[in-house]
Symmetry: C2
Subunit: 358 residues, 2 copies
């Protein structure tokens, strides 16, 4: 069920606590996107304690408490923000609310961990940059398509080890299943709220590109969006693509869509193909079509031969433990703030540059 439904796909990993019980507590609020469960799984498996829950819709708060019974439900966002025994607040608000919420969280002396996409406008990004600078707090983002996918984590290690030489180019394919009519909330189709497809699910792709290529900035060469199958939602975009060139002369092409066919055994045939001067890597993240309904397939070809690695359960998700330690130690091992913001900025610039197709 979870596997067929990307919206509520919450990976579970091997618990590898980096702290003792009670050393790192956090709260959650605004549970609008199911990604919040994956975020909480990641943090609690790394030793974090979910202590407080707030959501304007009581049933969503109860649902979260059902999964984390020791957490306490609070009556308002203000009550949560005022708590002094938590280090971080995680949230998966409606995309257009994520930036402003993060600013409120940081103003209240806590780190913020939001579902992607982190912003829907460049103004929100500027405000968050300013608030990070002023408060010294963190604005972390759950770029789950790398951070919570074992083959994607392992690919980063392989590239760092030089197994494909210097990275030349990254292709990212991020198809998603729309799901049954009526299964998505109204905000999902409202441009001002979800930010456009390149901003929304495109944010994963740009983040992966920067990470794998080592580029610290990029220009948008081309971007386009379209709506082919959902004319009843005129503000919705079910297709997007973009081409970027990084400041280290690497390039990226990515394509995102809501066209996963009903016949696919999972919510999306996510792929990443990374070409290097000495070899290449292909990830089949969530399925190996007509071969294996399990995910985390990594194909590596270099001078030594062809390898197929099945990585489920073999790599784990180091991001969450690193984020906890970064929060406690004020370091940047999980992800730098600049990388986090640059990925957000570039997906917003892709969206701004997008021509309309279809």
């Amino acid at each position: 069920m979870q596997k067929a439904d990307g919206m509520n796909y919450a990976p579970q990993g091997i618990p590898r606590p980096v702290v003792k019980a009670g050393e790192f507590a956090f709260g959650v609020c605004h549970l609008d996107h199911g990604h919040i469960f994956g975020m909480c799984n990641g943090l609690t498996e790394a030793g974090g304690e979910l202590r407080y829950i707030f959501d304007p819709q009581p049933e969503r708060a109860s649902d979260m408490q059902h999964k984390f019974p020791s957490a306490q439900i609070l009556g308002s966002e203000a009550e949560l923000l005022d708590k002094t025994d938590i280090q971080l607040i995680a949230a998966a608000a409606v995309p257009s609310e994520r930036g402003p919420l993060g600013c409120r969280v940081m103003e209240h002396g806590k780190d913020y961990f939001t579902d992607k996409t982190p912003f829907t406008t460049l103004v929100q990004l500027d405000q968050a940059r300013e608030r990070v600078k002023r408060t010294g707090k963190k604005y972390a983002v759950y770029y789950s398509e790398r951070l919570h996918v074992e083959c994607a984590v392992f690919a980063g290690q392989l590239i760092n080890d030089g197994v494909i030489g210097r990275v030349i180019q990254v292709i990212g394919l991020g198809p998603h299943r729309h799901g049954a009519p009526g299964s998505r909330p109204a905000w999902f189709y409202e441009r001002e709220k979800y930010g456009g497809i390149l901003c929304d699910i495109g944010s994963h792709q740009v983040e992966q590109y920067l990470y794998y290529s080592g580029a610290t900035d990029a220009v948008v060469n081309h971007a386009a969006v379209g709506n082919y199958r959902f004319p009843e939602y005129p503000e919705f975009e079910d297709y997007g693509e973009a081409s970027l060139t990084g400041n280290n002369d690497t390039t990226q092409f990515y394509r995102v869509d809501w066209h996963t066919p009903d016949g696919l055994g999972t919510w999306g045939d996510g792929r990443t193909i990374i070409l290097g001067t000495q070899g290449y890597i292909e990830m089949r993240k969530y399925i190996d079509v007509a071969r294996d309904t399990a995910g985390n397939h990594l194909y590596l070809v270099n001078e030594k031969g062809e390898q197929h690695l099945e990585l489920t359960g073999k790599v784990g998700y180091p991001y969450f433990g690193e984020l906890i330690l970064d929060s406690l130690n004020r370091t940047e091992k999980a992800m730098t703030q600049e990388h986090t913001f640059k990925a957000a900025e570039l997906c917003l610039l892709c969206q701004e540059a997008a021509k309309r197709l279809g």
Copy 2:
């Protein structure tokens, strides 16, 4: 051996003659690229008779005669051009000579069938367009990565049958093996002679895009080239990419390179991924990495499920028989002249637009 070496990869198909013996005779000349063997295989399997051979290098002519013993070696190009008992001349000259040679062939009242890429400059293309108009002869191009690949032929049939709905986007990956140092002729590295990577091996990609998408024209959104591994050949390009938008609002991204790692079991991991509104197709043309060293794998996903089709020996290569009949009947069933030229034009425009990376 052939499998490891794209330059001399000459597919053999099921002989399906479309004419009786002697009804369609042709000559060959300028055997600079090994593709000429695939071209001759295709024509003779379809019932054509290779009657005359000319090459300035006698050993290349003998080599061809060894494979087609009934063919006669001639002493000059002029002698071949003056023959009146052949319908067509096939050639795989140095790329910059292909256009001028084609004009000479058509002036002598014969159809021309050249290896890709058909031109290295837009001026050559204009000359050929004019000559086709004036002589009524054909300028046909061996876009082998579709025409001589069974899964690629079959993909066209599936798309025509509507199994993936309306085509939205095409991704083409055309990696090639460079091979051992010294294995390539001097012209391979001279920009004026090979035309640039987007013009050369990129021509396959643009042709496939137009064919699968149904676009009859396109604009180049972005293009880039680089030379990462061959600094000893400063005019060589070992990497190229381009993004196009068609006049039917479909899009293409393609990437070509000379970076096939030594460890890959074939000359290149050629892929084509076609996204439609009702499903998608992926071709793994020459290998299924770490799964199967044979080629012609087609993966189809639509509302009915996931399918993996192994198509070697099951589809054949209808292009060659259609070309023979087009030549005899003055029809355009194999490929229209306009499609042939438009693919050539667009790859030249990609090359012109290309920024330099690396």
